[in-house]
Amino acid sequence: MEGNVAVLSRGFSGFRRPQPPREIPEGQYYETGFPVLTYGPTERVSQSDWKFTIDLGEGGFKSWTWDDLMAMPQTDIHTDIHCVTKWSMLDSDWKGVDLDVFFEQAGLGENIAGDYLMIRSFGGYTTNLPVADVRGGKAYIVHEFGGEPITQEHGGPVRMIVPHLYFWKSAKWVESIRFMDEDAPGFWEANGYHMYGDPWKEQRYWGD
């Protein structure tokens, strides 16, 4: 916004409806609900249709079904979520599987081909991430929110969460991962949104 020199808004004090229990990133407000944001209709994916695939390159793939997901070691995740449309949801609870476990089961270990990845969802949504941002307990494939199955509007039956980045990086109805040598824009990134999206640096749009 024109550098960082703020224009004072005459007569605006701001009352920060409900006060957040701790600091949230600049430009965000504390939301006690869970707004839905999708650029199109809600995708209808059933548990039996859901399948998650990692493209291993050179024609190799590894896939997991809903039952496979259930059989994997589960993690409870307690985290804050920051959406680029300005709301922040604090202390949300999710249950799912650390992406590292998928990489391990795919036999990838440390030798991942490429520094970036493209996440794809049922319905065609895509978003790009650096590999380093999904390793070491930073990204999860989740199926429960607040102790309940994730509803379809919120990306159920299975979505991804990458809580340290703006929430558009957390793909709903997650379907696959493909590795890339170079960074390439996903859906929102091609539409003016930041390639990385760190809420604490307010990386909302191109040029931030």
């Binding site: 808004s9 944001l37 209709p41």
Partner: protein, 236 residues
């Protein structure tokens, strides 16, 4: 702030004179940032109501949300001549211009009409003849935003029709829709349009969800449907 126009008792249009007006696609929005003396800031998004053919200024049409932080500030405090910090234009998927063709189905709930109005104004000022139907849900006739302009546009006989539905107060002698948007209503209006090339749905969350699901059930491919959700709580 160049001018402020009352649209309904809950909605006003704010015309901003921009130092650097930029071309945009109908459906895009601006981010507004308010700053308090202690440095506290609040940001919200507001769709552009004007078409891209209207230069140098943009209109933002804001519905006041009771208990809200930003929309009541616009309604109760902002005056002509005030400075407002904005950033934009922003957006991509929820945009339409004449080159994308149609037929075009627009479904708006309450202030969800705003980005659709930008599309309609663009369509009109470019003399575009893409068959277009607007299904517009309001609480009552008194809550219809841009009412006169919509009447004039549909009277022009250039392939644009508007269909209202009222959810709270139904005028005497009204023989149009008088309920919340539902599957039957959507299939009735989509049949009227025949083929649906593009559909844009905007309004409160529940409204958008219902309308989008109805279109999917009616066999419209998801890729043709674009949605924008304005608020967590349905106001209709």
């Amino acid at each position: 702030m160049e001018s402020i126009t009352v649209e309904t008792y809950r909605v006003k249009t704010f015309r901003l004179l921009l130092p650097l007006w930029q071309p945009f696609r109908p459906g895009m929005h601006y981010d507004v940032r308010l700053t308090a003396p202690d440095g506290y800031q609040a940001q919200r998004s507001y769709s552009i109501a004007t078409g891209p053919e209207t230069r140098n200024v943009v209109d933002l049409t804001v519905e006041t949300i009771e208990g809200g932080e930003v929309s009541p500030y616009f309604h109760d405090i902002v005056e002509v001549g005030d400075q407002v910090e904005v950033r934009g234009p922003i957006g991509g998927p929820f945009t339409w211009d004449g080159s994308m063709g149609g037929p075009l189905l627009l479904i708006g709930g309450g202030s969800g009409i705003v980005p659709l109005m930008s599309m309609l104004r663009h369509r009109n000022s470019t003399a575009c003849l893409v068959p277009t139907l607007l299904l517009y849900s309001s609480r009552s006739p008194g809550n219809v935003i841009y009412s006169d302009e919509l009447d004039a546009l549909s009277a022009a006989g250039n392939g644009f029709e508007v269909e209202h539905t009222f959810t709270r107060k139904i005028p005497d002698g009204w023989n149009g829709f008088a309920r919340r948007v539902d599957v039957e209503m959507i299939s009735e209006v989509s049949d009227r349009l025949g083929i649906i090339g593009r559909a844009f749905i905007c309004g409160p969350e529940g409204f958008v969800e219902t309308a989008a699901n109805a279109l999917v059930n009616a066999g419209i491919a998801s890729e043709r449907i674009r949605t924008e959700r304005f608020g967590p709580i349905g106001t209709r």
